[in-house]
């Protein structure tokens, strides 16, 4: 199977291309306008693997949550590439791919993902037993109560460290932990998913973004 995975939903940008037993990935962090680099990164991995977009069997993307602009960049690129050659797609939660990556790295089945959502809130997901149990937008002092054997990952743990530690009882965390496109491919294959021909669309979690005019 020839699979392309892309992610630009948070502070990082990554692509991964798997074809004919070869997997080439690129990951960029701390670069200005990083998500605008997604197509040059695609250029690199396609050139290395030696196939064209039209030879893909599917495109896997993160569909949010994350920064609004980053989420839309990722989904819009998935839309454009999919439209070009009628390639089916599948979107995964950013929290799920982070949880999956952390579970693999730390060899545990108990991961608490918190992404900084600004405005005093986090995008919160509990990844347990190889599954994202839920994804919600929460105040740090209102997230799920967990146990000390969970590991916290994601930028939210850096910004709201004391509130999250107090609320969850988690004792270990890694704030500097990001989604990676290569994990999207593993996630797709591991869960025996199927692609679809629906238009890729974002899932923001924060939908209360404006107040109606009083006039």
């Amino acid at each position: 199977m020839n699979l392309l995975a892309i992610d630009t939903c948070t502070e990082v940008c990554s692509v991964s291309l798997s074809a004919g037993g070869v997997k080439i990935s690129r990951f960029v962090k701390d670069v200005d306008k990083k998500s605008g680099l997604i197509l040059p990164l695609c250029d690199e991995v396609f050139a290395k693997v030696g196939i064209g977009v039209s030879e893909l069997d599917g495109i896997i993307y993160t569909r949010g949550p994350g920064t609004f602009t980053g989420v839309r960049m990722c989904v819009a690129v998935a839309q454009g590439l999919s439209l070009a050659s009628a390639i089916p797609t599948l979107g995964f939660s950013t929290l799920e791919v982070i949880g999956f990556g952390a579970a693999k790295k730390y060899n545990t089945q108990k991961i608490a993902v918190a992404l900084d959502a600004r405005m005093g809130e986090v995008y919160w997901g509990v990844y347990e037993n190889a599954k994202l149990q839920s994804e919600v937008l929460k105040k740090p002092n209102a997230v799920t109560k967990l146990s000390a054997d969970f590991i916290g990952v994601g930028t939210g743990w850096g910004v709201y460290q004391s509130e999250l530690l107090k609320q969850t009882k988690v004792s270990k965390f890694k704030a500097d932990f990001y989604p990676q496109a290569q994990n999207l491919i593993e996630l797709y294959l591991r869960k025996n998913n199927t692609f679809n021909n629906k238009l890729p669309l974002p899932k923001y979690l924060r939908n209360n973004i404006v107040q109606k005019s009083l006039k």
């Binding site: 605008g36 839309r72 690129v77 590439l81 238009l199 109606k212």
Partner: protein, 341 residues
């Protein structure tokens, strides 16, 4: 390129609250276009909400592209290039169009080109059968811009004057809001003005009593507010006085620009160019000065994908295209920075 080759350009517009898609071909000119207007979505908030605009664009662009291709009985493989609005405009909204356009072009292996939104408006009259000849003076008046431009050729633009505060369309919308006409209120204000008496109130003609081609409309809006506070029953007369003052100010500046350049052609574009009272006034001025005045058809006065397809087509045919695959936008971008064709 062979003259036999029918190069087809897809245009994508997403700079504000309209999702516009157009197809322009060498042989037939404009072959299809569609628009999804978000006006009703933003109306309940009293103005454009940038985040809502971006959220709509990402749901609308691809379905509209498919519809436009179906309208023209074409496939993606028929496209020669893709043009997209890269600025000026709302950053989040621009980014959606740019990302879809560039990834689609990349996937198809064809060139993409960043187009200046105001150049789209400037050249929209070229979508009509009767087209203006360059050089000409262009008055671009919309909710976001008020510009007088010396157009010597495609890409050869010199800004002669611009609004120092509110754009003309913005002043129309804000004054309409003051009068309780809702959003966007410009067209509603123009309609109400038809019932007003021009002799009841005399509004100032801002910046017309001194030389220069710059505009200022915020004082006019404030004048309307103060008049409304004193005379809340005289909405139609206030609307009329505001419209007459705005139009006369625009007309005076157009006359000056034409006299300064010596050009015999005026192009009027942007959302406010749909205002019939403005057209009537400028037509009279044109007759007096022996100047030909051109407007886009009503549906191309506001934002649309057809004008982006046209500009992109003209430039792509000359070999211009984005130099790399980075997805970049230019929310602030001057017309004077463009490359000549």
């Amino acid at each position: 390129m062979s003259v036999e080759h029918n190069f087809i350009t897809l245009g994508i517009e997403s700079s504000c609250d309209e999702t516009g898609i157009g197809l322009y071909a060498t042989k037939q000119g404009l072959i299809a276009h569609r628009l999804f207007s978000q006006v009703n979505i933003h109306a309940e908030y009293g103005g454009v909400v940038p985040e809502l605009a971006s959220r709509e664009h990402i749901q609308r662009i691809v379905p509209l592209v498919k519809m436009v291709l179906a309208d023209a009985n074409l496939n993606l493989a028929d496209l020669g290039g893709i043009a997209y609005t890269a600025g000026p405009g709302l950053a989040g909204a621009l980014l959606v169009g740019a990302a879809v356009a560039k990834s689609l072009a990349w996937g198809l292996g064809i060139n993409a080109l960043a187009v200046h939104h105001m150049e789209g408006h400037l050249l929209a009259p070229l979508l009509e059968n009767l087209q203006p000849k360059m050089p000409f003076v262009a008055l671009l008046v919309s909710g976001g811009h008020s510009l007088l431009v010396d157009v010597r050729g495609i890409g050869c633009y010199k800004i002669l004057g611009q609004s120092l505060d509110d754009a003309a369309g913005e002043a129309f919308d804000k004054t309409a809001k003051i009068l309780g006409l809702g959003y966007p209120g410009g067209p509603a204000l123009a309609k109400l003005a038809e019932e007003g008496d021009e002799s009841v109130f005399k509004f100032p003609r801002p910046m017309t009593n001194r030389p220069g081609l710059d505009f200022s409309f915020s004082g006019l809006k404030t004048f309307a507010r103060n008049t409304f506070i004193q005379h809340p029953q005289k909405k139609a007369d206030i609307a009329k006085a505001f419209e007459v003052a705005s139009i006369q100010t625009l007309t005076i500046k157009c006359r000056r620009a034409l006299e300064q350049t010596g050009y015999k052609t005026l192009v009027v574009a942007g959302g406010v160019s749909a205002n019939l009272a403005l057209r009537k006034r400028l037509d009279i001025m044109g007759e007096n000065l022996k100047v030909a005045v051109f407007y886009p058809r009503q549906e191309f006065c506001t934002d649309n994908g057809a004008m982006i397809a046209l500009v992109g087509h003209l430039r792509l045919l000359q070999g211009q295209c984005d130099s790399d695959n980075n997805i970049n936008i230019k929310p602030r971008w001057s017309l004077e920075e463009l490359l000549a064709v």
